[in-house]
Symmetry: C2
Subunit: 283 residues, 2 copies
Amino acid sequence: MKIAKTISSVRKLVQQARTEGKSVGLVPTMGALHQGHISLIEEAAKKTDFVVVSIFVNPTQFGPKEDFKKYPRPLQNDLKLCRRADADVVFAPSAKEMYPQENLTWVSVKKLSEPLCGRSRPGHFRGVITVCSKLFNIVQPDVAFFGQKDAQQTVVIKQMVADLNIPLKIVVCPTVRQSDGLALSSRNQYLSPRERRDAACLYRSLQKCRQMVADGIKETKRIVAQMRKIITAAASAKIEYIEIVDAKTLQPIKKVDRPTLVALAVRIGQTRLIDNILIDAQK
Amino acid sequence: MKIAKTISSVRKLVQQARTEGKSVGLVPTMGALHQGHISLIEEAAKKTDFVVVSIFVNPTQFGPKEDFKKYPRPLQNDLKLCRRADADVVFAPSAKEMYPQENLTWVSVKKLSEPLCGRSRPGHFRGVITVCSKLFNIVQPDVAFFGQKDAQQTVVIKQMVADLNIPLKIVVCPTVRQSDGLALSSRNQYLSPRERRDAACLYRSLQKCRQMVADGIKETKRIVAQMRKIITAAASAKIEYIEIVDAKTLQPIKKVDRPTLVALAVRIGQTRLIDNILIDAQK
C-alpha cells in the first residue's frame, strides 16, 4: 500500500493504475477509521481494481464552534487498518496541500442541504460538497463509496454528481452498528461509559419507528412522539431533531407512504450523534 | 466533423479520441460565432489533437430581464464555421439535455464574481461557472480556450479550476477587433448603423487609457475621467462602469502600478457591450 501526501503523487499512482486498465474506487474519509469505514474499503476492493482511501479532516465543513481541533487523527492506526482492508493508496494531504490559497470557489446544493443537519450546521454541506468535488477531480475515480449513516450527505452528493455531470458512480453502504445498535462513528470515542450506554437510545427509537410502521401506523406525528419518549428517557440525551422525511426530497411528510428517511440528531452530553433508517413504504 | 446533441454521444467521441492517444481541447461558446470564436477554435486546433466546440445558450447565466430569448442562434451557420475552422466535434445540447431536472447544484466563486459585471448581473458568473463545470465534466478536456474579451470570466474560471483541482489548462486568447477597434461580440448585431458607429467609443477610451499610462500618468481617477469623456461624447452610449483594477484580485486600484485590468461596460442604445485591456505596469 502506497501513502500519498500530495495531489501530484496520488494522481501519478492513479494514472499508473489506469494505464494498467484498472478501475478506480475512492473512499473519502476524515480518518479515525472504524468498522464502518472498513466496510466501505472492503466494498471498494470488491467493486473496483484500485482503491484510494482519502484521509483528510476537512476544515471547511466544521462550524466555528464545532470539534475540528479535537477531531481524532490517529493516522498510524488508520494506515494499519487501510493496509489490512486491502487499500492500494492512502491519500493523506495536509490542509495546505488541499487549500494552498484562500478558497474562493464553493459548490453548494440548494434545498437538500437546508433541512435536517443543514439547519444546525450552516455551511457544513457546502464544505463537504466542495471538498468532495476536489477529491473527485484529484482522484477521478469510477466509483466513490459513502456510508448510509450520513444519509443527508449521500443524498446531497448524489445530487451534485448528477447536476454537474461528474462521470462517477456513488455507492452507499449500510450503516455498521455495535451490538446494542449504536451506529459506529469516530465521535463515539468522545462518550463517557455512562453516555455510551445512553447513546443506544438513538437506534432504539429508530427500531420503534420501524416496528410502528410494520404495525400499520403511518402518521409521522404519532411515530415521532414515541421516538421522542425513548430518547428523552436517556438522562444525557438532548434531541436536536427527529424527522421523518421523503427519502428523495428530504421534505417532511405526514404519512409514511413512500420511500422514507427517518433521521435524527441527538446530543449525548457534549457529543452530537446522528443516525437514520430508510423505510421502503408504499401508498 | 461530428455533431453531438447528447452528453453520452459527445463522451463516446471524446473517449474514442482518447483511445487514439489524442489530447482534447474544448472551446465553450454560446454560438452566434464570429472571428473571435474562430480564433479560439484555431488556437485549440493548434494546441490539441481533438477539438470540441460546445454551442449552448446557457439559460442559467442570463438574468430575468436579459436577452436570453432574443440571443441569436444561427446553428447552421455556426456549424459551417466550425467545420471550416477544423473542429472535430460540435456539442450542441438542448436545455433539457443539460438541465434534465431542477438544477440544485451551483458552483460559485466569491469575491472575484462580485465587482465589475457581477454588480449589474447578479447570478451571471454563478451560471457561467456552473455550466463550465458541467462542460468540463462532460468533455474532460486537457485544455479549454476562452477569450480575453470576457476578462472577468477568465479570472473567475481560472480560480475555479485551481480551487477545485480540475485537471485542465485554461488558455486565454486575445480579443479580436474590427478595423475601428470594436471588440467582436455576438451582441454587436443588435446595433443599428448609428449605434455601430458610436460603439467604437469603448475601444477609443481604452486606447486613451493605454496612451496616458504610456505617457507616465498613473492616477486611475484622472484616467477614468478622460475615458468617461470619450464615451459620453457618443450620443447613444450610457456608461455602466469604467474600472481600473488589479488584474488578479479585480479590486480597484488608485495607481496603475502593477498588472492592471481596465474594463468597462457600456450600453449602446439597448445593447450592453463590454471591453477591456490588460496593462502590464510595474511600480
